[in-house]
Structures are given as C-alpha cells and as structure tokens.
C-alpha cells in the first residue's frame, strides 16, 4: 500500500467512504453485479456495522464471519492467517458450534499435498475453492465430522499477496453455489482490507516511533541497531543488515541481528561490489527472490546460508547529497518449495522510507558534529590568541624583572626579595594558564570506566575542604552507591572547579554543598550549591561559554571545561539557583546502577 493516498487518510480517521472501499478493492476480481448482490443480501445495517467497526479488527472479523455464516447458511466458519515463516495457516477467528481448544489450534500447511486441507491449498493458490462433497474432495481435511460442503476464499492484500483465508462449511451436500462464493469473496476482501489497514497502521506507528527516536538519539550505534530491529519487525523479515559508507569507497557493516552480528565493523564491501555494493553505487533498490540467479550476486556476507535465502531486498540510505549506505533485509526460503514469500513493492517502499529516515538522521548528526568541530576550532583559535597575549605580557614582565635584578644588585635585600616573589608569582600564573589551556583542549576526550561517585566525591570533598578557607564544604547523599561509566579524574576536576568557583563567590562563613541524588529519570544528579549571591538569569547561559569570566585571572575557560567534560559523559549541566540565594549547579549523567540506602 502506498503512502499518502486517499485511503490512508480515510482509514487514519477511522472512517471509510464507499469510494475508498471500492478503490481499495479495485484489484480484486468482482463485478458491479457482485456489489449489487452483497447489498441485497447483507442488510444495510450490517454493512454499516462492519464499516463503523473498522478500526476494531477483532469486531470486524467476528461480524464478517457471522455474516458469512448467516448468508451462506453454513454451520462452521473461520478465518485463518498465513504465517509465511512457518508455512502454516493459523486459525484466528471462528464461528459455529463445537469449537474446542484443540480444533482452534489446528494448523494447516500451505501445500498442494492431498488431505492436508482445502484451506492450505487456497492459501497457496490464492483462488477460491468450492466443494459440495467433501468426502470425495482430495484436499479435504475433516475438522468437523459432519462437514459435507465447504467453500474457502483467500484474504488478499492489494498487492495480491494472500494473507489468510475465510472458510465456511455446511453439514449438507452441495450447500453452496457460485453466488455464495462471490459473496464470501466480497466479505473476505473487506476483512483483508481491514487486516492490511491495521497492519499498515502498526507499521506506520513503528516508523513514527523510530523517526522520533532517530531525531532525538545521539548514540549512532544504538540507533542503527534499533533501525535493523524495526526493519525486521515491520517487514516480517528474518534478518536485516545495515551498511554505511566510510572513507568514500567502502561499505562497512554497522548493524545486523543474526549470524552477521559478530562481523559488525569487520564485514566490508567495495562500492559496486555484489548486490549491496551495486545499490550503494547506483542509489537504486534491488528486490529479488533468487539471489544466486543475479549476475551481480557475490555472496560475500550473508545473514543465513545462501541456500536458505528466499527473498532479498536492499535499498540505499540516501542523505541530502549522496548515498550514505545500504539497508538490506532477507527472508528465509519457506519450508515448502511450492510457495514463496517474496518482498512486495510495498515492502520495498517501507524499507526505503526507513532508510531515508536513517539518511536524514545521519545528515543531522554529521552536521551537528561538524558544527561542534567548527565551534571548537573557533574557540581553540580564540583561546590560543588569548593565551599567547597573556603569556606574552607575563613574559615581558618576567624579562624586565630579571634585568632589574641584575642591575639592582646594589639595591637593598628587601627590594630584591620583592622582585623574586613577583617572578615566582608570574611563573605560577603562566603555568596555570598553560594548564587551563591543556585541560580545555583535552576536556572533550574522556576515558570511561566504571566509577562509583559516592565514594569518589565524598573523599574528594573531604580533601578539598582544607583549601576553601573560611567557606565550609559539605557532602550529602541518600545513595549508597552510584555507578556510572566515566572518567574519575575529569569528574573530580569538574566538581573541583565548581567548588573552587563557589568558594570564590561565597562570603566568609558561607557553605558549599555537594550532593549526589538520583534524578526522576534514573540518572545521577551531582549538585554543587553555595550560599553566595548566585547568578543573574541573563548570565545563566553565558557562564558556560569559553572566555566568559568575571574573575580577573585565567582564560575564563573554567565552566566551559566543566561543560565539555559533562557532555563527553553524555550528561548535561545547568545553573538553576535563584539570583540572590546562591548558585546551584546541577550535573546530570546517565547512571549504570544506583544503590539506595
């Protein structure tokens, strides 16, 4: 079913017009007179009931079955659905007396083999079947002892694919005629339409969900994994793999579920090589049943042994400017060789849509990365200029002081001591500048290991509290342990910077509180608050920008470094204190495990 057609809208709103119904059934073979017959036989009331119940698939199937039985004066009826993976029909809805749990769980094989059931035969051939004398019917399988006649019609999708059957039986010989069969087929068409619509909605929902995830997630690998799972689900495929183009000439496997999973990052196609490479090269999809008969087939990496591949579908992942990779899915060959389960054009469209969502997401991530890189480079350039200027000034003073010492050897010792102290001070300032510079450059790179924050930070606060002078530092938590994947040294530096900052702006006798608590979303929150003045609302964003400083010394990178480290941990930082009541910095980092007291 194609997207964006009238019927989609009609189904979407839970209502269906006669026009849409006629259009949707257009591919099924029945004539004007058939519609006339249905209208005459089914009471208008029943039809409207069916149509109104459209959004509710269960209700629709039940009504369809009841109507089928009533119209044909049959005794038993059921609708069974095809499972192409197992090659079986599973009974979904039943009507009539005497249905036991055992009978309901009967499975019909999709086969031409005699005696296995007319149902399986119809599902396989896709043609209606009428038998007035079951005892002499070659395909008949006796579900009920008293069944003497049976008619079975296929439930077909618009693409012509059989998704199930409607079967009605009677305890009379020659109970049904051609007219009954046509009415059954009309009912089956409505049922099939409802089924594929419900199915379509489920798929659409999956795509929307994935789209939302693609738009918000930043962990690309997890995202690609999710794409593959979703593709398998909506296509009812057996496996799916995702390749991305790297270095402009190679397709690297990024995600897969089955046998290829362990080759992620290792399986490589040249662009143009094999079916997958062809798709990447030409930017066009490939849909095949027998892969080996295609001259482009190389079979270098397959999700299942080549013999077992029953259907192959590969679509390009298109970005804004170029092909970014290939998304491919396979279905296994059905257990019975007499039928196949190929990918339909509709499957192809779905996978194509999925792939373009991936393409857009990749574009977005790329753009973001480039933007961050540009910002970083600009900051780095700016910082280098500033650092050079500051160091230059200090060196100038240093040079002067040394010269003064040489000339002034005759000057009193007191004067000399003052110069020495000034030189010491300058050298320390220069070292601090260089260190700040280095921290900033390195702050985006973190070495992540399991870290337990409660012990780490309580110990760190204990140590640092000796160096904050007249301001005291407290540590609070309700947690026993808070494990995250992180870089202990860098995290300590973050908290250290925040404490040092707080100490600078907190008057004597003030209190700085460091706390670790779980957030409402199960993350860990590290809060550093003080009893100073706090930060005005208009500055709350600016304080994290590089070179923003209200303090005379340094490059003004302190909070920019903190932010950079927190972000490298996949976390966020914000200042959410109220101006006049003290500053309150809250770091939120995804937690691995939290143990409550």
């Amino acid at each position: 079913m194609e997207l964006g057609t009238d019927q989609e809208d009609a189904f979407g709103s839970g209502q269906i017009s006669g026009e849409a119904l006629g259009k949707a059934n257009g591919s099924v073979d029945y004539t004007e007179s058939t519609i006339g017959t249905i209208a005459s036989v089914l009471s208008l009331h029943s039809v409207s009931r069916i149509l109104n119940a459209f959004p509710n698939i269960e209700e629709l199937m039940r009504v369809a079955l009841e109507e089928a039985l009533k119209i044909s004066r049959g005794k038993h009826g059921f609708i069974a659905l095809v499972n192409y993976h197992t090659g079986e029909l599973t009974i979904g809805w039943v009507v009539g007396p005497g249905w036991t749990e055992e009978k309901r769980s009967t499975k019909f094989k999709l086969t031409r083999e005699p005696g296995k059931g007319i149902e399986g035969y119809v599902a396989l051939t896709g043609k209606p079947y009428l038998s007035g004398d079951l005892e002499s019917d070659p395909h008949h399988y006796p579900l009920f002892e008293d069944s003497l006649s049976r008619m079975v019609v296929p439930l077909k999708e618009r693409s012509g694919k059989t998704i199930g059957i409607l079967s009605v039986s009677s305890d009379r010989y020659n109970a049904f005629d051609e007219k009954d069969l046509r009415i059954m087929q009309a009912l089956a068409d409505i049922a099939a339409l409802a089924m594929s619509s419900a199915d379509y909605h489920a798929r659409e929902q999956k795509l929307i969900e994935l789209g939302m995830e693609l738009a918000s997630q930043t962990d690309i690998d997890a995202l690609l994994d999710k794409v593959v799972s979703t593709a398998i689900e909506i296509l009812q495929a057996d496996d799916c793999s995702l390749f991305l183009i790297e270095d402009g000439s190679k397709l690297i496997l990024k995600a897969s579920k089955g046998a290829l999973k362990e080759h992620v990052g290792k399986a490589v196609y040249e662009i143009g090589e094999g079916l997958t490479g062809w798709v990447a090269l030409n930017g066009e999809p490939i849909r095949l049943s027998d892969v080996r008969s295609d001259p482009r087939w190389r079979g270098r990496y397959t999700e299942v042994p080549v013999d077992e591949i029953g259907a192959f579908l590969a679509v390009p992942i298109m970005g804004r400017q170029s092909c970014k990779g290939v998304l491919r899915a396979i279905r296994k060959r059905p257990p019975d060789a007499s039928y196949s389960n190929p990918f339909t054009p509709e499957d192809q469209n779905l996978l194509y849509m999925l792939a373009s969502q991936v393409g857009a997401a990749l574009d977005r991530v790329e753009l973001q990365e480039r933007l961050i890189e540009v910002e970083r480079m600009a900051a780095l350039g700016e910082m280098s200029a500033r650092a050079a200027h500051m160091l230059g000034n200090k060196l100038f003073a240093l040079k002067g002081a040394l010269k003064e010492l040489r000339i002034a050897q005759v000057t009193p010792g007191e004067e000399r001591e003052r110069l020495y102290a000034a030189i010491d001070g300058l050298i320390r300032e220069m070292e601090e500048l260089l260190q700040e510079f280095r921290y900033f450059v390195k702050s985006a790179r973190v070495d992540r290991n399991p870290v337990e924050l409660v012990l780490l930070l309580s110990e760190f606060v204990r140590q640092i509290s000796h160096s904050t002078g007249e301001v005291s530092v407290h540590f609070e938590t309700h947690l026993d342990e808070a494990w995250i994947e992180g870089d202990a040294e860098r995290l300590k530096r973050c908290v250290g910077e925040l404490i040092e900052n707080a100490a600078h702006f907190t008057p004597q006798g003030g209190i700085i509180t460091v706390s670790i608590e779980p957030s409402t979303h199960g993350e860990v929150m590290i809060t550093v608050s003080d009893t100073g003045k706090g930060i005005p609302d208009e500055d709350k964003e600016k304080i994290f920008e590089p070179f923003y400083s209200t303090r005379a010394q340094g490059l003004g990178l302190g909070l920019a470094i903190v932010k950079s480290i927190v972000q490298a941990h996949g976390g966020t930082i914000e200042e959410c204190g109220r101006y006049g009541e003290g500053a309150k910095f809250v770091i939120t980092i995804p937690a691995a495990k939290l143990l409550h007291r």
């Binding site: 200029a385 050079a388 200027h389 500051m390 160091l391 230059g392 000034n393 200090k394 060196l395 100038f396 003073a397 040079k399 002067g400 002081a401 010269k403 003064e404 000034a422 300058l426």
Partner: protein, 159 residues
C-alpha cells in the same frame, strides 16, 4: 626631564617600565587600566609629554582609547603603544591615528625595556622639536604682526 604616563594592567610590567624610565631621569606616573589612564590624562597639568600604553587591557581597543584621550588633551603628546603577541595590526591602526610608534613586548633576544626607553627618548625629542617649531612660528608671527601695520600703510600710501 619629561613627564610620562605608563599604562599597563600587569602590575610588575608597569612598575619595571617606570623604573627604567626613571633611571633616564624622567618623572613617571602609572595607571592600571584604561579608565584611570583617561582620567589622569585629562586632569594632568601640564599635559604628559609621552604616554606609554598597553594595547589590550579592558578591551582590544584600550590602547586606542588612551590615544584618543591623550590627543584630545594635547595634540602634541607622543603616544607609544605596547603590544603582546598578535596585536600588531591594532598598533599600526593606532599609528595611523597619530601614535608616535609601537613596541612589541616579546622580541626574542631584544631588551625591550631599553628599546622602549630609546623610543621614549626619541618621542621626547620629537615633541621638543615640534614645540620648538611652534614656538618659533609664534615668534615669527609676532614679528610679522609687529611690522604689519607700518608696511600695509606704506603700501596704501604708495597707491
């Protein structure tokens, strides 16, 4: 002896410049920032002969602002701009706008304090020359004025 103002936000630097210039026999005042410097310049009586100012202090334009204040107070005050790495363009801009010269703070192997002292001396000479020229011009003007009424009358009589 000249009256000099040294403006630099690095305390030790301005103090060392002051010492160096004092050794040459000048009277040196100091300012730690742009605002203080501008106030001192406008209040100075007589005006400073030479002003040595860092280019980048409160802002990238600090040196330029000090220069403007200096020229506003006395158009013949000589201003020398000090620059650390990467601010030569600004210093050149200052020269286009009337600064006497600029000195880069970090020149490998060069005693910049001596270089600065030398430039200060030349600036003082320059100012002295200009003031002298002006002085002479004034004298000449006075002489001309003194003779003028007589000569013009003579001319009138002749015609």
């Amino acid at each position: 002896m000249a009256r000099i103002l040294v403006v630099d936000d690095e305390e030790l630097a301005r103090e060392l410049i002051k010492r160096r210039l004092e050794r040459d026999g000048h009277k040196v005042d100091m300012a730690a920032d742009e605002t203080t410097a501008m106030r001192m310049i406008s209040e100075a009586e007589p005006p400073y002969d030479v002003i040595v100012t860092d280019m980048v202090m409160d802002s990238e334009q600090s040196g330029l602002n000090v220069l403007k204040a200096a020229l506003l107070r006395d158009i013949f005050t000589e201003v020398i701009i000090l620059t650390a790495y990467g601010n030569v363009a600004n210093a050149v801009e200052c020269m286009k706008r009337g600064a006497y010269d600029y000195v880069e703070k970090n020149i490998p192997g060069v005693d910049v304090y001596d270089l600065l002292a030398m430039k200060v001396e030349r600036a003082i000479e320059e100012r002295r020359d200009i003031l002298m020229t002006i002085h002479r011009l004034r004298l000449a003007e006075q002489l001309i004025h003194a003779r003028e009424p007589k000569s013009s009358q003579t001319t009138c009589d002749d015609t």
